[in-house]
């Protein structure tokens, strides 16, 4: 007898090659800039060359005289629409909110802030004309560093934010933590700077807006990870029009990494201009515009203290962070250094007392918001650096300190005391052990000792991380005062058409994650239909149910589970219909391998295609049953998921130059069950290299006047193939109890695990020289200076 549990999944767990790829490898994808509409106008922007200035005059006459120029608009023209919303404020505290307008009005507050838009018949003319718009500025003093910005007498960005403070926020138990430090045998303290990064998806951002005057409806193509959210924010908050008057479409997206979650001014000004001129309007950023005006990530300046006993027990963690949020608040900016950072600073360790204080600060820089990992890399870097610092202080093996303080398997679900829902599941030691085994830990320490006698500086760094995925349950994020104030559920509709083909629409928004493939694997297995018969549709608010989009490693855990819920409903209805067709009792029907049959009599089965046909033709349905197999689910997870793992890196430092050679990189990740191991591995690889890049290469640098010195890819170093290491991967599997798929999320894990792994290795290599800490990025010069004791 066949039962559901006997059936081996045919697709789930297989490394299937991606169904997304045939288009993309042949150049047949449709990215935003590939969209051309009849009579479409092109936008070029006039952007502020100053970090802080009053706009005293804008003269567009020369530009308007250029042949091919249709219009020039400024912020004054667009006062009939509202500033962009900040949709996630720091919880339970006052936030002094200031958000950008479609175009600057009166004052500019960062270099690259758009001041005027030129619309022309082609992009070359638009670009020429932008240079012909004469803007007069009265420069104001600027401030770019968060610590400088809160000092008395610093330049003030906004009238409602004294001392440039957005908010002050805290998590944990301050008194208990202070007591732990007062009693501690050992205290280590370091300044920890998590430098500003530029996300740099290979496709920049852009918008194409069309307005139909007859219906009053907008259609907007956007490089967005969350088109339903953009529809909501742009209609309800910016334009004050019914949500039904805007259709948002995300075409193929050339990477996002967080930067494409947010509501941007180009969405507003292209819509406004399309309505004004009655012609479609396209805006696509150039890379240098993306660097100056789209969101950046990280930029924390932290004082970290960790205390413990000489036996290696960690007893307390105290953290004070200044988070630079830029000149205005981006869509979810205040949520990143608070909810997604301060609540997980203790990482994989059972630390009895912890406290985190965060000050959000305005500066004359580009807005800072979520970038791959978003708060969790900052937390993970902080705790893992401090644990190594503690291990060195007490002379204990860093692997042993970790093992000693890990949250133990029997402690799950684990409450960390920082205002998070409990960690769902975890077993941290096996991942550490596996990584140590892969690297050959004991042998390495012997080789290291020998290398040191030869004057060579080799080091090994360990990073044991945990993160928060599946953002976010209403039970957490929706709590009054936590910030967003609503559950970030995800949606899925599943339809089985009368030909037996299955169409799934999802509110998730794949942009490289391989979700079409992964989702189709789940659907094909659950319904027992051929994989090729499953179609996954996404990206268009017309035709997909409302969903919150793709970010925060949430699309499989939340979006995938929404699909699973709909599939369960489909199967339940199919069983009821099959019972009717087989003249049996519905309770006796089993659904397996794409067929419904009376338990024990599989030979009399009805296939899903037969059931779907019956449901569609609809002339013999059970009493009260609606036609068609069509089910929708909105999944609000009861908890987040908490993927974890251990990464180990080995470096050799050239003491003459300070150059770091990352010789091995080992990643053991536990993201729960794997639906498509090939896709998961790809996510891990990419994440790791972004984390390594933070450790070794990347840093957005402003000068004191607020000019972005790393304003192009000539200066801002994202890794090439030759700068990235070969990566050795493995997994432990601890299924999540939170969702029926047992999955945890993998999109950000690599980034969250990597930076401290590399930094710990460098500091281990230089330990004989007395180096205890170093800030990122560990550029050759910085390492060289550490070696030469000039830090």
């Amino acid at each position: 007898m066949t039962t559901e549990s006997d059936l081996k999944p045919r697709y789930v767990g297989q490394s299937m090659k991606r169904r997304e790829d045939p288009q993309l490898i042949t150049g047949r994808g449709t990215y935003l800039d590939d969209i051309k509409l009849p009579a479409m106008l092109h936008v070029a922007l006039v952007r502020s060359p100053y970090a802080h200035a009053q706009i005293t005059a804008i003269d567009a006459r020369r530009a308007l005289n250029r042949r091919g120029v249709v219009a020039v608009f400024t912020g004054q023209d667009m006062l009939d629409i509202n500033p962009l919303p900040c949709a996630w404020q720091a919880g339970r505290v006052t936030n002094h909110v200031n958000t950008p307008r479609a175009l600057a009005v009166d004052t500019v507050r960062h270099v690259g802030e758009p001041v005027a838009m030129v619309l022309a018949e082609d992009r070359y003319v638009a670009r020429d004309a932008a240079d012909m718009v004469d803007v007069s500025y009265e420069p104001l003093p600027a401030v770019v560093d968060a610590r400088d910005a809160i000092q008395p007498g610093a330049p003030q960005l906004h009238a409602n934010a004294p001392n440039n403070i957005v908010m002050e926020w805290e998590a944990g138990d301050r008194a208990k933590t202070d007591a732990a430090f007062a009693q501690a045998e050992v205290v280590v303290a370091e300044p920890i700077i998590n430098q500003r990064l530029i996300p740099t998806p290979m496709e920049t951002r852009g918008t194409v807006a069309r307005y139909d005057a007859a219906t009053g409806e907008f259609t907007v193509w956007m490089t967005s990870q969350a088109p339903h959210v953009m529809r909501l924010l742009l209609t309800a908050f910016v334009f004050g029009i019914p949500e039904t008057k805007l259709r948002c479409i995300s075409p193929h997206i050339g990477g996002g990494f967080g930067q494409k979650i947010f509501c941007y001014n180009d969405m507003a000004f292209t819509m406004w201009a399309a309505r004004k001129l009655g012609r479609p309007v396209k805006f696509v950023e150039e890379r240098s515009e993306n660097y100056r005006a789209s969101t950046h990530g990280r930029d924390h300046i932290t004082d970290a203290e960790l205390c413990g006993r000489r036996d290696g027990t960690i007893t307390g963690l105290r953290v004070k962070t200044h988070a630079n949020l830029g000149a205005y608040l981006s869509t979810i900016a205040p949520g990143i250094p608070t909810t997604l950072y301060g609540r997980i600073i203790t990482g994989v360790y059972a630390i009895p007392a912890a406290y985190c204080h965060v000050t959000g600060v305005y500066t004359n820089t580009a807005m800072v918001d979520a970038y791959r990992g978003a708060g969790r890399p900052e937390a993970s870097y902080l705790i893992e650096r401090m644990v190594d610092r503690f291990a060195a202080e007490i002379g204990m093996d860093p692997a042993e300190v970790r093992r000693k303080n890990f949250i133990q398997p029997d402690q799950f679900p684990y409450e960390n005391g920082l205002g998070l829902l409990p960690y769902d599941s975890g077993n941290y030691a096996p991942a550490l052990d596996k990584a140590l085994e892969m690297v050959g830990y004991a042998d390495f320490r012997a080789l290291q000792a020998e290398a040191r006698t030869q004057g060579r500086y080799v080091g090994l760094g360990i990073s044991s991380y945990v993160e928060i995925c599946g953002v976010a349950p209403s039970a957490w994020i929706g709590l009054a005062g936590e910030g967003w104030g609503a559950g970030l559920f995800e949606s899925a509709n599943v339809r089985v058409h009368l030909t037996g083909k299955v169409v799934v629409t999802t509110g998730s928004l794949p942009h490289g994650q391989g979700l079409e493939t992964t989702f189709a694997q789940i659907v094909a297995d659950e319904l027992g239909v051929p994989y090729a018969d499953v179609e996954i549709e996404w990206g268009d608010t017309q035709g997909t149910p409302f969903g919150y989009g793709t970010y925060g490693s949430r699309s499989l855990t939340v979006g995938g589970t929404a699909i699973k819920k709909s599939l369960d409903k489909i199967k339940a209805k199919a069983k009821r219909l099959a019972a009717h067709m087989l003249e049996a009792n519905a309770d006796d029907i089993e659904f397996a391998d794409g067929k419904a049959f009376v338990r024990g009599a599989p030979a009399q089965a009805k296939t899903l295609a037969e059931i779907a046909l019956q449901a569609s033709v609809a002339y013999s349905l059970p009493e009260g049953m609606e036609p068609f197999l069509d089910e929708t689910s909105y999944y609000d997870p009861p908890n987040c998921t908490f993927p974890f793992g251990t990464h180990i890196g080995i470096v050799e430092v050239d003491p003459e130059t300070g150059h770091v050679d990352l010789q091995r990189y080992i990643a053991v990740d536990d993201c729960g069950n794997l639906i498509n191991p090939l896709v998961v591995e790809g996510q891990i690889h990419g994440g790791i290299v972004q984390g390594i890049a933070q450790a070794l290469y990347e840093q957005a640098i402003y000068d004191t006047n607020g000019q972005l010195l790393t304003g192009t890819l000539l200066d801002y170093a994202i890794p090439t193939a030759a700068m990235a290491p070969h990566i050795e991967t493995a997994h432990t599997i601890t299924p999540s109890p939170v969702n029926p798929l047992g999955v945890k999320g993998a999109g950000e894990a690599g980034t969250i695990g990597a930076a401290q792994c590399v930094m710990n290795a460098i500091i281990d290599a230089l330990a004989p020289l007395g180096v205890k800490h170093m800030q990122m990025p560990a550029t050759p010069e910085r390492v060289w200076k550490a070696i030469h004791k000039e830090l």
Binding site: G27, G29, G254, H511, L713, A722
Partner: protein, 158 residues
Amino acid sequence: MTKITLTVNGTRYTRDVEPRTLLVHFLREQLNLTGTHIGCDTSQCGACVVHLNGVSVKSCTTLAVQCDGAEITTIEGLAPEGTLHPLQEAFWELHGLQCGYCTPGMIMSAADLLAKNPHPTPSEIRHGLEGNLCRCTGYENIVRAVSSAAEKMGSPDA
């Protein structure tokens, strides 16, 4: 305006262009060959790589007028319609792409790399692709894909 005649993916075109027209804009805007992408404004990223008279070039750093009389191959013309080049197959097979934005340029560069060095080591592949940035894959599977394609292209039954 300057009249140019060139062959793109085997088809001959004659067009009037402004001398300042970049090849990438000519291909994308005038010929609707949008598989060639733009990812930067400083000639770093390689999303725009095409073949000009058989060698890879950054079409964002080439003027269309410079291509008068030339033969251009873009990602759309790398393999005959309905077939895949071994590199395209290998990128698909080994998950050498995620968002796909860098992929056309990456594949065009890899094709030139293999033309110059048919049996590259992983290190040679990494250095050979220095003109192409990918932000998704961490390059691991790109290197695997190029190695695999090189093996297939070098085998007697290829």
